[in-house]
Symmetry: D2
Subunit: 256 residues, 4 copies
């Protein structure tokens, strides 16, 4: 399968992962290893930047993992920029998942503050991957200010509802010149496969793996789902049709 | 992953396949090998039973493949029983995919003739896997007359529309004491994965692999999709929820 | 709007209704009057055929209402025929809604017993409207034995899930030479409207009206929903398209 | 049914309409009269503001109609404000449907420019009804700057795809303190009814009426669909359930 390039990095795995909600950091590490994920997002808040022995980072030292700090918890562009600077210093990476969600119930992202922050962060030298609603115009504007990818949501974070924004993801994928990573809402390997089949460049999965009674097996399942979907996309799926076409030709052969 | 048992056989692969519509028998053989499929259905009509050098059978000799002759083309129970007897003699197996679809346009199966034929074929010593509409009562009655499995459709044959019978497959899976194989309509690895995630025991895929510009790659994609779905089912997926639960806890950490 | 003809009757209203689950017979009568329904189904079991003062019948005496006795509760063709004879004698009508559902949990209909009973009842002079799964072949066979209409389900009875059998209803409507009445599962006026828009000849609604906190208002809402859908069908709806076509032409008019 | 209040006006009809794409202005007038619509949007571009005999306005003089000029065609906040001022002067109303869609293919609205324009227009004394993506955070922010309503889209303009943003409309309706008008994508009376059933305060329909072969009948159908949906909402619909609840109690009554 084709490698995915974002900014200066290239990835064999198109499954990005998160680090929240796991039963333990040990379990998280095992699951993420098995997932094959090469880009792992970590909430800045969860890292004790003053403590070099911080546990979560110790579990993400494998060279397989590239860290993608995120700004979860901020409510404005200003807070996001401040958090990004902290993250860059603490974690030694200029990659950033930009998340601005003032809403405490559904954690839906703020389009206006996100665009403002993205523009500034790009100027400050960050590789910005913004988490946004599946809004085709917003995605285009983010691309225009220089984000390295766009991360439209499939459904509300943690809802496991799948690709509820399907019709808009289609437009985003069609129009985008930067990679499209479907983030939030993906609840099962079939959801992940479907996103890949429609031409998304990657997916980010966290809740569905982390809260499974068997996170390691579930991580493996998602890895396969993503690969299945990507492989099908590259091999070109047939379109749905209204009329049946029998696999086995219908023939009244007993009349012969 | 758990093995699947149907009648006296057990299968590592939960992807059943068909042999129609491939560009060539050589391509078919390659794709089916890569798919890992251990149960392969062949229309009796397509086999020249008088010719020991028949080409399609020569391409299905690998011990990986168990043959599942099907009665595609028959329109009544009587024709089905006759075809089944021919198939048993010609192919040396008492396994049978029972298909009775009098309708030449959508190839939808006939519930009444199918039940009648199934009852008789079971008495005649066949291992019967009937292709039916996703009708929970019919599936139950087929089980009661002794079919080895039931094969409800996801959507019209060859339509690639996916799991359009989702709500009824759920009931069938919940109620069935024999394996449930989703047959017809599965158009993509994500469809196959979804069927497995909901607890189907296997899926049968033909058109979507055979008509792909790259059938071998597509066969691999379906293999992974099925495994992803089954693994997720065994590891237990979380249910969709209405309220977001952030993977990264929302905290106004910059106020600290 | 075009009138609907079934057998020897013609109907201005395409909303058929049921009599179960209402808070009181008085409330039922009011709601059914307001609904405009001209065909009302009554479970034979609920009628005390020996009692000429039976309450439920007293509430259905308005000439607006044609009674459609149903065989709810029977489990076989034989029971159905017996119940039908009782109904004809007790209620003085040869119209019959044929329901055979052996399954006590989902009340899904039995295709084989239903076809058998339908064939016999037609010979016995009944006007048969069979409740069935949305199975295109079964509907065709029922038409062939002489049923006056077919009544495929939209979703399990009482589930309010709407048109979960959409793709199969489309085929049934396309192929049918007798009226198609969507029965079971219709949970809202929008569901009813959608069934009519796709070309169904009528819908039968019971639960969604009867269990509403305001059955009379809900009956009115369904009446309007059905009429809206039918009128739109007759006036021809546009098909969904992928590309936007602005209602207001997009013109950069300020540049002019 | 409850009246709808927006700013200083109250409406008996919850069906807002547009004036584009009709075969003739005469046909438009007839259809809009029959629709019962009391708020009618007109693209400023289509009005010849210098010509007091302008035809389209002559067809909208009935006191039933309140005009809602829209800014269709503008691409930035600045252009929108300019267009709004022109519209206010020309049409003598400070009501405004704010539309900013730089994208010529799907006509999706720009969230950032829309918020900026809305804020300014509110300060300038306009009653602003902004057309936006179904973005819950954006809708909340628009409400906070003082818009009189929000108009989230159901699907791309003119696509007739229905409520593709269902899950997000639910959140918007739950959170909003101003009326929510579903705009764009509504292709049939059942779509309109469904929007109302979920609690939307109104819908705006244009294409589906205007391009129908029978716009007047279709306008009537939409009127009834909207009323059906609203009435059902007020009378409270039951929720979908998984288990069947028979309308007619299941009883093996023939055993009695």
């Amino acid at each position: 399968m084709e490698k995915l390039k974002i900014a200066d990095k290239s990835f064999s795995s198109r499954l990005f992962t998160g680090t929240g909600k796991f039963g333990s950091n040990q379990l998280m590490e095992e699951a993420l290893k098995v997932s094959g994920s090469e880009l792992v997002t970590v909430a800045l808040k969860r890292v004790d930047v003053a403590d070099t022995t911080d546990d979560i980072l110790n579990h993400l030292k494998d060279p397989q993992f590239n860290l993608l700090p995120n700004t979860s918890g901020v409510r404005t562009a200003k807070e996001a920029v401040f958090a990004a600077e902290l993250a860059r210093e603490a974690l030694g990476t200029n990659w950033l998942k930009l998340e601005i969600h003032p809403d405490p119930k559904y954690l839906m992202p703020d389009p206006v503050e996100t665009l403002k922050a993205a523009e500034e962060l790009v100027k400050l030298g960050f590789i910005v991957l913004p988490y946004v609603h599946a809004d085709p115009v917003l995605c285009k504007r983010l691309e225009e200010v220089g984000t390295a990818a766009v991360m439209p949501l499939g459904a509300p974070i943690g809802s496991n509802k799948g690709l509820k924004t399907f019709d808009f993801l289609e437009i985003i994928i069609e129009q985008s010149n930067v990679p499209v990573v479907v983030d939030a809402g993906i609840g099962s390997p079939s959801d992940a496969a479907k996103a890949m089949e429609m031409g998304a460049d990657a997916v980010l999965v966290n809740t569905a793996i982390a809260v499974s009674p068997q996170p390691v097996a579930m991580a493996k399942a998602f890895k396969m789902g993503v690969e299945a979907g990507r492989m099908a996309f590259e091999a070109q799926l047939a379109q749905p049709v209204n009329y049946a076409q029998a696999s086995s030709p219908l023939t009244a052969f007993l009349d012969d």
